[in-house]
């Protein structure tokens, strides 16, 4: 599908924080009320801008966590030495204003396929890279799509898995496979290591099914996983990537 023409405001607009919800001790979802919101696509992101009273400004980008048709929401992970994430996850509250720009992106977006194909969907998340992929899965549910979908979600521990309950309730057409890289709960029988070629080969849809893959997370994760998929025979144009940069050690 060709790039989307962006309707609505092209520059910064002021949004109001609605509800906030803590997903994990370090992760919070913020609902935003945006006047004249023109809608968004699954996988797009927002830029947010904060202005301190001395005029100092900081900008960051966050993936939209909600599906098209739902109110805009972003999910933010608090980085210990961050400047913006501690503010968004601990200080900001309902009724506060925040500047946003967006929605942004036409590459890392998913639309349910039409009637002519049901290419299975492969979603691969490293840490907070799950956020745009969750928007895609919510969208899939919302429109009643039967596209087979599989999510491989790499997280450091079970406590750090975002959207745990929701991911368990996605229904039969979606398989969620976790790999917990640092710490596993007692009795854990799932993957317990960083994603590697063997794991990717086990979870990836066969190439013969012409799957579409979306990989999102820290740069190291994305590059390794994308390379593994291409090595399995996935055409590069069927592997979409979005890098979030470096984070803490896996």
């Amino acid at each position: 599908m060709a790039g989307t023409a962006v309707r609505g405001r092209l520059t910064w607009q002021t949004a109001t924080v609605g509800a906030v919800m803590d997903e994990t001790p370090a992760v919070r979802t913020l609902s935003l009320e945006v006047p004249d919101w023109a809608g968004h696509r699954a996988g797009q992101h927002l830029d947010i801008r904060l202005t301190a009273d001395d005029g100092y400004r900081a900008e960051r980008s966050y993936s939209i966590a909600s599906a098209p048709g739902e109110p805009v929401a972003i999910t933010v992970e608090r980085l210990d030495d961050g400047e913006v994430s501690p503010y968004l996850t601990q200080e900001l509250r309902a009724g506060d204003e925040i500047e946003i720009r967006g929605p942004i992106g036409g590459y890392f977006v998913w639309e349910p396929p039409g009637t002519d194909g049901a290419a299975p969907l492969l979603l691969l998340a490293g840490g907070s890279g799950v956020v745009p992929l969750r928007a895609m899965l919510r969208y899939r549910s919302r429109v009643g799509s039967s596209v087979p979908a599989r999510l491989l979600y790499s997280a450091r521990s079970w406590a750090e898995v975002i959207y745990r309950g929701e991911l368990a309730r996605l229904g039969d057409g979606v398989q969620v496979i976790y790999t917990l890289t640092r710490q596993q709960p007692p009795g854990w029988t799932g993957y317990a290591r960083r994603a590697d070629p063997e794991m990717i080969a086990e979870v990836a849809w066969p190439v013969t099914q012409a799957p579409l893959a979306y990989v999102c997370g820290p740069t190291n994760f994305v590059e390794a996983v994308a390379a593994d998929l291409v090595a399995l025979g996935y055409p590069p144009q069927r592997v979409k990537t979005e890098r979030f940069g470096a984070t803490g050690t896996p």
Partner: protein
């Protein structure tokens, strides 16, 4: 110690900047590297953000494709490394 390359992003990260500068969604725009001829979508290009500015490079040959530097609210845009951007 994490390698510098751990922090390298892709063109998705400058979607907002390009939206502001070009007035339209640009992450799917296709660029041709003037150095090696590699054709890639902006979303796939390597993006370095050392805070002094934003430097976009070809993933194949590391040639500088685009540079954006903001000085006093005005952004200097250099697209010389692109033979074509459509």
């Amino acid at each position: 110690m994490a390698a510098l390359e751990d922090g390298v992003l892709d063109g998705n990260a400058i979607g907002g900047l390009l939206l502001e500068l070009f007035g339209t969604e640009m992450t799917t725009a296709v660029g041709t590297c003037a150095g090696c001829g590699t054709v890639a979508q902006v979303a796939e290009m390597a993006v370095y953000q050392p805070k002094l500015g934003t430097v976009v490079r070809c993933r194949s040959c590391d040639n500088v494709l685009m540079v954006f530097v903001e000085v006093r609210g005005v952004t200097c845009v250099d697209l010389r490394g692109l033979a074509q951007l459509a």
